[in-house]
């Protein structure tokens, strides 16, 4: 296992049943994700990008093989330890933003900081810093329905960044955005990697993401096609 890896994968497989059929979503994956870099998981639809991202996010359990997160075998983590890792070490960005509709932009960003047990003052600092970094500090009192798609995605990034995680996992973050907004989102993630030393793993079809990423893992039919 490489010591500077945030994730290390050995013979990882994942399958699920769809009716009578068993789908082999991932087969014997071997790879490492280095710290502090923007990594793109690319590949056609159904290649296993989202499944691998869910396993990295500790949202699913591998069926076989080993997945190490910060050197720890995730199969040995209890549910409580996984919850703690998701709260402190992992940040999520989704294609459809998944903001809480009844909370303002700043409340959305602050929500999980409250769960992290931070003081009100600390939370305010983190929220302001994250919103400034994504360039929407002027929109913080707005509700999601009052914002454009690009602005909503930036709030989602700010929410992930404010947690100060080790890794940000983004599933098709530019799919619902136009080219200009998509580019800005990736630039913000790159800046996050540079400024905070975090890793960002982005599952995407988007050629622009592929070009901007530091590393690329290409998947095809549940196997690594090219690294």
């Amino acid at each position: 296992m490489k010591t500077n890896s945030i994730f290390h994968v050995e013979g990882l497989s994942y399958s699920y049943r769809l009716g009578e059929e068993t789908i082999e979503a991932l087969q014997s994956i071997e790879t490492s994700i280095p710290s502090g870099r923007l990594v793109c998981l690319s590949g056609p639809s159904g290649s296993g990008k989202s499944t691998l991202l869910n396993l990295f996010g500790l949202l699913d359990k591998p069926k076989s093989g080993k997945l190490f997160f910060k050197g720890q075998d995730v199969n040995r983590l209890s549910e409580k330890e996984k919850e703690k890792a998701r709260l402190f070490d992992l940040g999520f960005i989704f294609q459809s933003f998944n903001l809480f509709p009844t909370l303002t932009a700043e409340e959305n960003v602050e929500y999980f900081l409250h769960r992290q047990g931070l003081s009100k003052l600390k939370r305010r600092e983190r929220v302001d810093e994250a919103l400034k970094m994504v360039g929407i500090e002027g929109q913080k009192k707005k509700f999601p329905h009052q914002m454009s798609g690009g602005q909503r995605q930036r709030v989602a990034i700010a929410r992930a960044l404010a947690k100060k995680p080790s890794v940000i996992l983004a599933d098709e973050p530019t799919a619902s955005l136009d080219q200009a907004n998509g580019k800005q989102v990736i630039q913000i993630l790159k800046e996050g990697c540079r400024q905070f030393g975090l890793s960002a793993i982005v599952a995407s079809h988007d050629g622009m993401v592929l070009e901007s990423a530091d590393d690329n893992i290409r998947l095809r039919d549940g196997k690594i096609d090219r690294t």
Binding site: N54, L59, K84, R86, G91, F94, N98, R115
Partner: protein, 383 residues
């Protein structure tokens, strides 16, 4: 959606109960203020076998035997000595059997204000006047100011007759009563029966005084029997109330089931719609127990807030649109309709709020348990 379902549901239930309380309360008032007062006192043995043929043996010898004791109790608003009469009442061409009552006209007119005056006026203390039921007046085909004669037997069996002037026609609302009954002044009745006795004393209690309080205060008067208006008005009041309660219980159950199913449906749909929200929270490390706690807090505030709004809505409706009451048709066996007011009690408000909250919590728990079983990875894709 949940808010309006609970608010309107609680309001509907409360209004339904309020209207039922209003109807029952109106029945009670009707019975008390048209015929019986809060109850009637008889001499002990009045209802015994010995008095079947010689009824006067079960009467109070005179008013002083009982009235001073009632006055001393301090529990009465008023008391109404009465003397029953039966015999033939005629207009010169037609004679019918009638059941009369000798009463203190002025005092009775003040308290028995639910007696509907069809024409004329009630007895006013003047001797020689008669006040008769609507059905009896129609059967005799008499008009105000006409003379009526009443033939009866005195307590010692002699025949006696007296002429009266018709001063008014009343309607109690009970046809069987209105077809045979009439009222004359107590003194006239005593002359007709050749006695100083009184048969019974109807009483009006002061506000807040219970029938049992009166019985307790006269405990040393062991030659008196007490009959509350419920005991005297079995057929119309007690049976009517039983019938109405039975019917309203069925309707209330139907309304309750519809409302509770509505709440259940609204809550489970709302929780299911928030599956992605809970999944996002769980993806970011939120514990299941935290989500349950959040939902319970939300549901408590929502449930209490909406139930309070429902209650306020009913209070507002009953004080504006329904301030003058609701006109109701006559109940079965009655001839008079009434204007009922919506009456609600703290117990109803608490029971209905509790029912709504319990349903809310049960549906929230069932909904959230289902949602928390959805894998996080699947849940976050549901937005």
């Amino acid at each position: 959606m949940i808010f309006s379902t609970i608010a309107f549901g609680a309001a509907a239930l409360l209004l339904f109960r309020g209207i039922n309380h209003g109807i029952l309360s109106d029945y009670r008032e009707m019975s008390i203020h048209s015929r019986y007062g809060h109850g009637t006192l008889f001499k002990k043995g009045y209802h015994g076998t010995e008095t079947k043929e010689n009824a006067w043996k079960g009467w109070f010898k005179n008013a002083d035997e009982i009235l001073p004791h009632l006055t001393q109790s301090g529990l009465l608003q008023d008391s109404f000595p009465r003397l029953g009469l039966s015999g033939l009442i005629g207009n010169g061409t037609v004679s019918l059997s009638g059941l009369g009552m000798g009463v203190k006209g002025v005092r009775e007119a003040a308290f028995f204000d639910r007696l509907k005056i069809i024409e004329g006026h009630p007895l006013d203390g003047s001797r020689g006047n008669i006040f008769i039921g609507k059905g009896l007046a129609q059967a005799l085909n008499v008009k105000l100011g006409q003379s009526l004669s009443f033939l009866t037997t005195t307590v010692d069996g002699s025949v006696n007759m007296m002429s009266f002037v018709l001063v008014g026609v009343f309607e109690t609302g009970v046809k069987a009563v209105d077809d045979v009954s009439f009222k004359v002044e107590l003194e006239d009745a005593q002359v007709l029966l050749d006695t100083q006795a009184i048969e019974s004393v109807a009483v009006a209690l002061k506000p807040g005084v219970e029938w049992e309080d009166l019985k307790a205060s006269l405990w040393e008067k062991n030659d008196v029997e007490f009959f509350s208006f419920e005991e005297l008005d079995q057929i119309n009041y007690v049976n009517g109330v039983r019938w109405l309660k039975g019917q309203s219980r069925i309707f209330e159950l139907i309304i309750l089931v519809i409302i509770l199913l509505g709440i259940f449906n609204a809550v489970t749909v709302s929780v299911a719609e928030r599956c992605y929200e809970f999944s996002v929270a769980r993806a970011n490390g939120e514990k299941k127990v935290d989500i349950l706690r959040l939902l319970f807090t939300e549901m408590s505030l929502l449930g209490a807030g909406s139930a309070i709004c429902g209650v306020i809505l009913v209070v507002m409706v009953s004080r504006t649109f329904l301030a003058n009451g609701i006109a109701m048709p006559p109940a079965p066996g009655m001839t008079l309709g009434s204007q009922i007011t919506v009456s609600y009690f703290p117990n109803d408000i608490l029971t209905i709020t509790a029912l709504c909250l319990i349903t809310l919590f049960i549906s929230a728990v069932l909904g959230v348990v289902r949602v928390l079983h959805v894998p996080i990875a699947k849940g976050v894709q549901l937005s």
